[in-house]
Structure formats: structure tokens, C-alpha cells
């Protein structure tokens, strides 16, 4: 069932066991799992069926530190959440991403990759993926990795009919849970805002917040303040260890054979370091995206020249009345070191239309990450030179220690951390089952529970974790 307003929902007399906040990939997946288990679940979606400026305005906020995207641009607030602008890249976090790195504090998860692997079959169906393929080492230091360009499932489009037909799932649109109330053991209700006004309190036996990698922290910080710590009793890490995947053009390459590496439909190939190389150099994980432009013959020679002498290449391109660029560009995205100082705060001066303080995001890239960027490109370049597969040129600003450019990709729009998973309550918010420490009926879905980010896009791992949480909750509720 899908209701366009909270008023319409109330008239249906539906009695949910579980209340999920947010209808993005995590919320929708958990709802479908619970619904399939016969558990009545309501999904409260703050936005409507379509994008609107009015809804999006609730996401405005500010960033302190490094340059970052506007917070009302980097995510979407309507049915299906940020899957509506997802590019579709899919890969599960590597096995080693779950393991602690001795050289990077606060790394390591309380679960291993083996804990989510049983759900990858479901993930394939949900995200419409081909089979995952193993990494291919090209040296002791570098491996070719598969990053799947999927059809980029829009969760609302794909599942709207199924949700509308369901008798166990109710999706309620235009209904914003502004805060949760709690007594330090249980969430006792959610305060709602609908149709531009307060809409009373909503109760259910269980609550799952799936409002996104920024908004989960905001909701819980505000809820905790309003209930004097009654929603997240151990809040030292709440909003902290926030992470992104910084992404920049790192240089270019001349390849000896442009058919050497397997590329996808966009002529892109992806490379990451081996665990041994990360350990030896004490760097974080990273992904190098090599984009080939397959020019033939003389055009290729000129394109290669564009890597080294852009002015000369431009002149030659003009003579050919062509616009040729270097035949292989390198983009680097990397894993951020989880730092408590990268965090989400509630604004002291600015609130949204419902009176909830907006986000103030504090985000800076660390020296360890800068070293990861430089050493990562060196590793890749050394591998290509040693194997004679090509030559790499590292961008000047990286080699010279210059500032990060502000006119490039910047990051992946991947919002991770803030309510991270762990066993130490001073450094985490949820346990290995995504249950908030100390609370009996509050769970969190989505990438805000990530302890580390790995180098790959998060949606595949988000969906796998959501399947796992859906199964876990089904078992808890069945007892």
C-alpha cells in the first residue's frame, strides 16, 4: 500500500510492527524482507513520489573544512531516496576492508565480509547485477578489480507496484519523522511532520532509521538532545567518523596496448592495491579508474602526445580538425581514514521548516590520505613500467604537494559513518546487528553504520547489510 499523506494512512487502520524511516535502498530492502516474512511494516518517507524544491530544501546545510558539495544537492529527498540519482556502480567491500589496519586507528568492523556474503544472491536480483568476478593481480602490488556498471535501479520505480500491492507493507509519503522519543531503553514514538504541520506521535514496536548517511546522524543527534540521551544512550561516537570517497583526476597514462586491460562499456578499467602493498606502504585502500579513449593510428599518437605536450598536441589536433585528449586518464578515489574529528553537528543558528536544526558537516582529508593518493599512483605507475604495459604521469599538483583542486569530482557523493558499527560503545553507535547500543528496539540501516569505507561505491554493501538486517529483525520479531 502506498499512501500520499499521513491523513490517508491513518484512515486505513494499518497496525505496523516495525516503523522504517526512509524509502531509499536500505529502507525499501528491509521493508521488503519484513513484508515477505509476514511482518507488518510501515515506511515513512519525508518526500513525495517526485523531486520537489520544497522537499529538497529540508536538506540544506553547511560544511566546515574541505570543499564539499551543497548538502541539498548531494542527496535526494523523495521516494526511493538517493537511488534516484545513483550512477549504478556496484562492488562489495573487499575482505580486507572489514579487517583492522594496524597503521590506521579505528579501522576494522565487528563483522567480516563472510557475514554478508550469504546475501549477495539477493543483492544481485535487487540491483540486477551480473556475476561478481575475482580480482586479477597484475603485479604483487596492483590488482585489476571489477566495478560493475549496473542499470542503476531506482528503488521507487522498480518496487512501487510491488509495494502498492503489498498487504504487509505501507509506504506513507510526505511524512517526515522529525525526532524519535526514547527512555534510554526503548524508542517510545516518533514525532511526525506532515502537510506543513505537526502531525502527532507515531508508535511501533520497532524502529529502523534509514534516512541516509548524513540524515541518520542528524535525526539521532536531535532526538537525543530532545530526550536527554534517551534515544542513543552511548552517544560519544554519534555523528562522528564520517567518511566520503575523495575523487580526483590523478594523471594520465600512455599504454603499450590499449586492449591489454579488460574495460567496461565506457572503456574504463579499475585497479586497487593488494593487501600486502597497503600494509607495506601503510596506506589506505584506493581505486584507480583508467579511462581509455581508443583512438586509431595517427590520432592515437597525437593523443599520447597530449599527455606530455598538451600545447603541441592541441596544435596537431587543430590541423586534423579534431579535439583529441590524452588517450588514458587516471582518476583516483580512496578510502578515508576514519577520524572522529570528521563529524556531523547540529547547526546552532539554522533550522528547517519543521524546526529541526540543519546539518553542519565538519570534513577534512588527512595527511594519510594524501600519501595514499601519491603512493597509490606511484604503485600503479611502477607496475605499468615494470611490466612494460605503459607509463604513468602523476598530475603536477599531487607530486608538488599542491592544494586539492576544487573544479573536479571532489568526492563520490557517498555518505558513510556517523552511526558506525562496533563493540566499543565509546567509538560506535550500533552493534554487529545494527542495533543501537543500549536500546532494545532501535536499529539503523544504510551506510551510516560503515566502520570504514573501502574504495568502492557503497550501494552494493548497503543493500547486502539491509538484507542481513531484514533477516535478523524477522528472527527477533518471530521469537
Amino acid at each position: 500500500m502506498i499512501f500520499d499523506s499521513h491523513e490517508a494512512y491513518k484512515q486505513a487502520g494499518f497496525k505496523p510492527k516495525v516503523c522504517i524511516l526512509g524509502s531509499g535502498p536500505a529502507g525499501t530492502t528491509i521493508a521488503r524482507k519484513l513484508g515477505a516474512a509476514g511482518i507488518p511494516v510501515v515506511v515513512l518517507e519525508a518526500g513525495s513520489r517526485e523531486f520537489s524544491d520544497q522537499s529538497q530544501d529540508f536538506y540544506r546545510g553547511t560544511t566546515v573544512g574541505d570543499f564539499y558539495f551543497d548538502l541539498d544537492v548531494t542527496r535526494l529527498r523523495f521516494m526511493g531516496g538517493s537511488s534516484n540519482h545513483w550512477a549504478g556502480w556496484c562492488r562489495v567491500l573487499d575482505k580486507q576492508d572489514f579487517e583492522p589496519k594496524a597503521w590506521a586507528p579505528d579501522t576494522g568492523w565487528p563483522i567480516s565480509r563472510a557475514d554478508i556474503e550469504p546475501y549477495l544472491g539477493e543483492v544481485h536480483d535487487i540491483l540486477e547485477l551480473p556475476a561478481f568476478r575475482p580480482d586479477v593481480p597484475i603485479s604483487d602490488d596492483i590488482r585489476w578489480v571489477q566495478l560493475i556498471k549496473s542499470p542503476a535501479v531506482r528503488f521507487a520505480e522498480k518496487f512501487a507496484d510491488e509495494l502498492d500491492r503489498s498487504r504487509t507493507i505501507a509506504v506513507v509519503l510526505n511524512t517526515y519523522a522529525t525526532e524519535l522519543a526514547g527512555d534510554g531503553k526503548r524508542v517510545t514514538g516518533a514525532r511526525l511532520w506532515s502537510s506543513g504541520q505537526d502531525a502527532g506521535t507515531f508508535t511501533a514496536d520497532y524502529f529502523v532509521t534509514c534516512t541516509g548517511g548524513l540524515e541518520n546522524s542528524r535525526l539521532l543527534l536531535w532526538s537525543n538532545r530532545r530526550s536527554n540521551g534517551g534515544v542513543v544512550p552511548n552517544a560519544a561516537a554519534l555523528g562522528r567518523y564520517w567518511m566520503e570517497h575523495p575523487t580526483f583526476e590523478g594523471g594520465n597514462a600512455i599504454l603499450a596496448n590499449y586492449g591489454e586491460f579488460e574495460v567496461d562499456a565506457s572503456n574504463e578499467a579499475f585497479f586497487s592495491p593488494t593487501p600486502a602493498a597497503m600494509e607495506r606502504l601503510q596506506i589506505m585502500n584506493f581505486g584507480i579508474r583508467l579511462i581509455e579513449t581508443p583512438y586509431p593510428n595517427v590520432k592515437r599518437l597525437i593523443a599520447d602526445l597530449a599527455c606530455t605536450a598538451p600545447s603541441m598536441a592541441e596544435w596537431m589536433s587543430d590541423q586534423l580538425e579534431q579535439r583529441l585528449r590524452c588517450a588514458a586518464q587516471l582518476y583516483v578515489a580512496w578510502e578515508q581514514a576514519p577520524l572522529a574529528s570528521n563529524h556531523i553537528e547540529l547547526s546552532k543558528t539554522d533550522v528547517d521548516h519543521a524546526g529541526v536544526p540543519r546539518i553542519e558537516l565538519h570534513w577534512k582529508k588527512s595527511p594519510l590520505e594524501r600519501r595514499t593518493l601519491l603512493e597509490g599512483l606511484r604503485l600503479f605507475g611502477t607496475t605499468l613500467a615494470q611490466t612494460n604495459l605503459g607509463r604513468v604521469r602523476i598530475a603536477d599538483w599531487i607530486g608538488n604537494g599542491g592544494d586539492y583542486p576544487t573544479n573536479e569530482e571532489t568526492a563520490g557523493h557517498h555518505h558513510m559513518g556517523g552511526t558506525r558499527m562496533g563493540t566499543d560503545v565509546s567509538k560506535s553507535v550500533v552493534d554487529a546487528n545494527c542495533k543501537v547500543h543500549g536500546m532494545d528496539n532501535l536499529y539503523i540501516g544504510g551506510s551510516s553504520v560503515f566502520c570504514t569505507s573501502g574504495q568502492c561505491n557503497p550501494t552494493t554493501t548497503i543493500t547486502a547489510l539491509a538484507c542481513r538486517l531484514g533477516d535478523h529483525l524477522s528472527k527477533v520479531i518471530a521469537v
Binding site: 603485479s139 594523471g251 600512455i254 599504454l255 603499450a256 596496448n257 591489454e260 599518437l301 599520447d304 602526445l305 599527455c307 606530455t308 605536450a309 598538451p310 600545447s311 603541441m312 592541441e314 596544435w315 606511484r378 605507475g381 611502477t382 605499468l384 613500467a385 615494470q386 611490466t387 612494460n388 604495459l389 605503459g390 607509463r391 604513468v392 604521469r393 602523476i394 598530475a395 603536477d396 607530486g399
Partner: protein, 63 residues
């Protein structure tokens, strides 16, 4: 013709030997697989990996 900077000319001159090398030699999957009798005297020193003007090269690229 546009005036080229000295830097661009130097960059091109630096890179041309590498480009020539890439086009005239078959790719070697693993440098360890090169048979000992194929290694000329001094080749090990020449194939040291070096960084020049941002390029990661074999020293022999500059020979």
C-alpha cells in the same frame, strides 16, 4: 602555429623515447620472465624505476 612553451617542448622530448619504446617492443607480462641471456650488461641499472617530471619511467626509457 601557436607559440609553444619551453616546458612543453622539454616534456615532449622527455616522452618521445618512452613512446618509441612502447611501440617498438612487445609487452612483457612480467619483467621477471625475461631470460638472463636477454639482459644486456647494465640493463638492471638501466631498468631502475625513476620519476621524472611526474612520469614514472624505466631508466632505460631515457637512454
Amino acid at each position: 602555429m601557436k607559440k609553444m612553451s619551453r616546458r612543453a617542448i622539454v616534456q615532449a622530448l622527455l616522452a618521445l623515447p618512452a613512446m618509441s619504446l612502447l611501440r617498438s617492443r612487445p609487452a612483457v607480462a612480467n619483467s621477471d620472465e625475461i631470460a638472463p641471456d636477454e639482459i644486456a650488461p647494465g640493463a638492471i641499472a638501466r631498468d631502475e624505476i625513476i620519476e621524472v617530471n611526474g612520469w614514472i619511467l624505466r631508466r632505460s626509457d631515457l637512454a
